[in-house]
């Protein structure tokens, strides 16, 4: 089992993801955005950061990096693709996931720990009981998820909503629990097939208790377990 973590110019969480995987005892390596060889990797992670400075629109340039056509192929073949923060933004720009991420409501960058409720979903990589509350930091300027009503209804019906912002007890506040104003408190979604998963929170920041928690480990462990099961 080996995670491949893509480095775009301006990525800045790639080392954290590799370290987090290593901390949990998994192998991980870097994939330069100009490379197109994904062989040897069992799961692809698009890490957080500011790919291409996030100029034009977050992720808008990165989706044209040479590696992305291979990532699309990998996803189409059913391989696990995880986009964290900027990686999530890139996945929406690449149309591997629906919707878009707008500037936070309040127009401020937000770095803080968020409460997240695990929803009943098609996501193949998160084997936690629906209703479980995870505490994972968010760190972004553009996490305000949006999509049209039809898409939202379809995602809901397909079980594509994986994580929602919530209160500490798992409830959702009237008027929304999303600190960034995200539609329907959406923090993480997957594609219909459940193998492409994008989330704004940074699980790699909370795998080591020294840096404040271990809830992020579930995401890494979920992938590894599932791949082991499938073989």
């Amino acid at each position: 089992m080996r995670f491949g973590v893509v480095i775009f110019p301006g990525s800045n969480c790639e080392q954290d993801v590799v370290h987090a995987a290593g901390h949990l005892g998994y192998e991980a390596g870097y994939i330069w955005h100009g490379d197109t060889d994904l062989s040897g990797y069992d799961a692809i992670v698009l890490p957080g950061g500011f790919s291409y400075g996030d100029y034009i629109r977050c992720g808008a340039v990165a989706r044209f990096s040479p590696v992305m056509s291979e990532v699309v192929r990998f996803a189409e073949a059913g391989g696990p693709v995880i986009g964290i923060c900027n990686g999530f933004q890139i996945l929406t720009e690449a149309h591997l996931l629906p919707g878009a991420l707008l500037r936070n409501r309040g127009l401020k960058f937000i770095c803080k720990t968020a409460d997240l409720r695990v929803e009943e979903s098609a996501c193949q990589w998160l084997d936690l009981a629906p209703g479980t509350v995870l505490r994972i930091p968010i760190n972004h300027n553009e996490g305000n998820y949006i999509c049209d009503e039809e898409t939202l209804a379809r995602m809901e019906a397909n079980g594509q909503i994986v994580l929602r912002y919530c209160e500490a007890d798992g409830s959702r506040a009237e008027g929304g629990s999303a600190p960034n104003g995200a539609l329907d408190d959406i923090a993480g979604i997957c594609n219909e097939r459940g193998n492409v998963f994008g989330l704004m929170p940074h699980p790699e920041r909370v795998v080591d208790p020294l840096s404040g928690g271990t809830d992020g480990a579930h995401i890494f462990e979920g992938i590894v377990r599932r791949i082991a099961e499938v073989g």
């Binding site: 080392q15 370290h19 950061g49």
Partner: protein, 750 residues
């Protein structure tokens, strides 16, 4: 002799004065060159000999600082200081001001302040791992101050977040004294293996000068001389074109490319282009190496047309680095730059002449001994005079004022002090900063000091060692007594670090003052430096880097003397780190140190009486050091559950903050016989509130006795109210409401 730019002998001195040189300085340039300087030469000398680049007014005073220590790998004089933190790891750090650009354009001013100090760090071969920012503004009831504050915070976040360098701490004060001249002091810290320490020293005749990164434009021309080395007046807005514009994405690529180049040993030397641009970077590298440089400005990639040689030489366009490479390594070095999408261009070569020659194609436009730019600036001994205001403010006795009495009035007073913009929670600021990236922020912002693990996720090497970092300076104290105030800046930074379980290792400083040519201002500068130097010497802590920022005045009114201290301490074992929040109901609350009647310069005096007066609290460096020894030893025994120092707002605020942070109340006394208001809000130094399990109190008391530190059990943690004797009784919810939302409310004009 540079012919095409030759100036008529009568025009040259006029241009020199316009560029900020004094007439006798101009004469010195003529004497060095043995002729009338060219336009390009005049620009280069005027910038390199500006206060900002040459420290001509401060250089002598700075010699008072102790700079040596066993663990010092690089002291002042390089882009940043470097200390060893054990096991082959070294930490580089420095603090620098970007006050004047920020006062004109807060977002870009603050952003490029962060960018500049971070370049100083990776220039040394270190990966930037954290930054902190010490900020001063006028009061937030003024719309312009809100604009400056909000813009500066956004700029710091916008730049640092994009780089992926966590912003882990800092401080902010609001006071009318900074209304016309805000302060933006940015500190950056980097981590490296000792063997990767790189210096900006050019060497090897025939080696090539490689310019890496952004193109060169007309932005920031004369920033060091027209912005940083002059006071503000009504024309300040016209200086907006002198403010640089930052591109953090380009800088992120520069960090990765430069660290890769240094790891691969492809560079002879590396320097960044900061104030005075190519002129300062190149001349400093040449003069440190005792070599000459020959540069052709037509080779410099330009983003604007028809740039003159002097514009190219002094442009402060951001995100540029200057490297020296051997001809053999050039191709490999350029390949690394290309991989990161960075421009790299050979613009000249190292010569054995010791002269800095600038050409425009075949034509020489400047030719001077390189060392004269970097090191021969005049050194002044400015006149000093004790300011007349001191007697007046110091003779004021705050104890003679009417003070609130009774539980209701004192409880209300505590809430008011807690809600002061200078005391209240800084969460609104640090939630806009990525403070966690790199996974090493072990103690998040909001405690006494930030604690970082020494580890490099990129190399996959993590250690159990940490550093604790704090920036501090109470400008009010420095205004009331610059000698004592500067010592307290040091003591508070060291105490914050001690409360986190670290021992102080070294400091950087950023000395912000008014116009040094005014004897009263210079006296405050000299006293502050003397105070800081004495404090450092008493603690055996060296100053390894720093920055002086003069001319912080507007309309002739100087800011408070503000010698900001950035202190790095070492936590030998991260398991021994300590934080400020109350952790267990039933724990004993213990006051280390003794409260005296010291309300001079206090937050209470400012908030409740609208005054900045009196003598600042006294500081006994021997007591202070003993207290830190006690803390270090007590934390090592594992009995200390929380530690928080008493500073602004006194013991009342310290207790309230530990309650709010821990989500627990406490029932305590002040441990003092003084009148309630005085006991609660006195800002006596060398005091720390700690908690221990009740069984451990006796052990702590014995340990305190061996260190000669007063130690008194003043109560218990628990409940949902803070009760302090008969004086204060406030619910946790009320404390939180006073403490937490204030800053955001004020920013929105509430």
């Amino acid at each position: 002799m540079p012919t095409p730019e030759t100036l008529p002998a009568d025009l040259a001195p006029k241009l020199a004065v316009e560029l900020g040189l004094k007439l006798d300085e101009y004469e010195k340039v003529v004497a060095i060159l043995g002729r009338v300087p060219s336009v390009t030469e005049l620009y280069m000398y005027s910038l390199m000999w500006s206060e900002h680049c040459s420290y001509k007014h401060s250089r002598k005073a700075l010699k008072m600082f102790p700079t040596a220590g066993d663990h010092v790998l690089q002291g002042p004089g390089e882009n940043a200081g470097v200390i060893s933190v054990g096991d082959g790891w070294a930490v580089a750090f420095k603090m620098e001001s970007h006050n004047h650009p920020s006062a004109i354009e807060p977002y870009q001013g603050a952003a490029t302040g962060v960018g500049g100090i971070i370049r100083d760090i990776f220039t040394m071969g270190a990966r930037p791992i954290a930054s902190l920012d010490s900020l001063r503004f006028g009061t937030l009831d003024e719309p312009r101050q809100r604009y400056l504050f909000e813009g500066a915070v956004a700029g710091i976040g916008g730049y640092g977040n994009c780089l992926g360098v966590p912003t882990v701490g800092g401080e902010v004060y609001f006071d009318k004294a900074y209304e016309g001249n805000c302060l933006i002091n940015a500190m950056a810290i980097g981590l490296m293996r000792e063997e990767n320490l790189t210096r900006a020293v050019a060497a090897g005749v025939g080696n090539l000068v490689l310019l890496i990164g952004s193109t060169t434009g007309r932005d920031g021309i004369g920033g060091a001389s027209t912005l940083a080395s002059q006071e503000f007046d009504e024309k300040a807005e016209d200086k907006r074109p002198s403010v640089q514009v930052g591109d953090p994405f380009e800088e992120k690529l520069l960090i990765e490319a430069c660290l890769e180049l240094l790891d691969a040993k492809l560079l002879v030397a590396l320097g960044d282009l900061g104030a005075a641009g190519l002129t300062s970077s190149a001349s400093e590298m040449a003069s440190r190496g005792g070599v000459g440089l020959d540069i052709d400005v037509t080779k410099v990639p330009q983003r604007e047309e028809a740039m003159k040689p002097f514009e190219i030489m002094v442009s402060e366009s951001q995100e540029r680095m200057l490297a020296i490479v051997t001809p053999e390594d050039l191709a490999a070095a350029q390949a690394v730059c290309a991989k990161w999408g960075l421009r790299s261009t050979v613009i000249g070569e190292v010569t054995g002449t010791g002269r800095f020659v600038v050409r425009e194609g075949d034509v020489v436009v400047a030719d001077m001994p390189a060392a004269t730019l970097a090191h021969d600036a005049p050194v002044y001994d400015p006149a000093m005079e004790r300011p007349a205001y001191l007697d007046e403010v110091q003779s004021f006795d705050p104890l003679a004022l009417p003070h609130p009495t009774g539980r209701d009035a004192l409880s209300a007073t505590l809430l008011e002090v807690l809600a002061s913009p200078n005391i209240c929670s800084r969460k609104w600021i640090w939630e806009q900063y990525d403070h966690q990236v790199m996974l090493n922020t072990v103690v998040l912002p909001g405690s006494d000091a930030a604690v970082l693990r020494i580890g490099d996720t990129g190399r996959g090497e993590m250690t159990g060692v940490g550093i604790a970092v704090s920036t501090d300076c109470n400008g009010r104290y420095c205004y009331l007594d610059p000698y004592v105030g500067a010592q307290i800046a040091f003591a508070e930074a060291a105490r914050n670090v001690a409360c986190s379980g670290a021992r102080p290792a070294a400091i950087t400083d950023c000395l912000n003052f008014g116009n040094p040519e005014k004897p009263e201002v210079f006296w405050t500068f000299h006293e502050s430096v003397r105070g800081l130097a004495d404090a450092c010497t008493a603690f055996g802590v060296p100053v390894i880097s720093g920055n002086v920022s003069f001319y912080n005045e507007s309309f002739g009114q100087p800011i408070y003397p503000t010698p900001t201290v950035g202190l790095v301490g070492i936590v030998n074992d991260l398991d021994d780190r300590c934080t400020m929040e109350f952790k267990n109901d039933g724990d004993a609350v213990v006051l280390l140190g003794r409260t005296k009647a010291e309300l001079g310069g206090s937050e209470y005096l400012a908030v409740m009486h609208g005054m900045v007066a009196g003598k600042p609290p006294a500081l006994d460096l021997v007591d202070e050091r003993r207290l830190h020894e006690l803390l270090a030893n007590a934390i090592l025994t594992g009995i200390i559950r929380s530690a928080h120092d008493c500073s602004g707002g006194g013991i009342a605020v310290a207790l309230a903050e530990s309650c709010v942070a821990g989500g627990r109340g406490a029932t305590v006394t002040t441990g003092s016989d003084l009148a309630d208001a005085v006991a609660l809000f006195s800002e006596t130094q060398s005091r720390v509130v700690v908690t221990v399990a009740p069984d451990h109190y006796d052990a702590l008391k014995r340990l305190a006795a061996t260190h000669g530190i007063p130690c008194e059990n003043i109560g218990r943690v628990g409940g949902d109210r803070l009760r302090i004797g008969d004086a204060v009784d406030v619910s946790l919810a009320d404390l939180r409401d006073a403490y937490e939302p204030t800053l955001e409310r004020l920013v929105h004009g509430g």
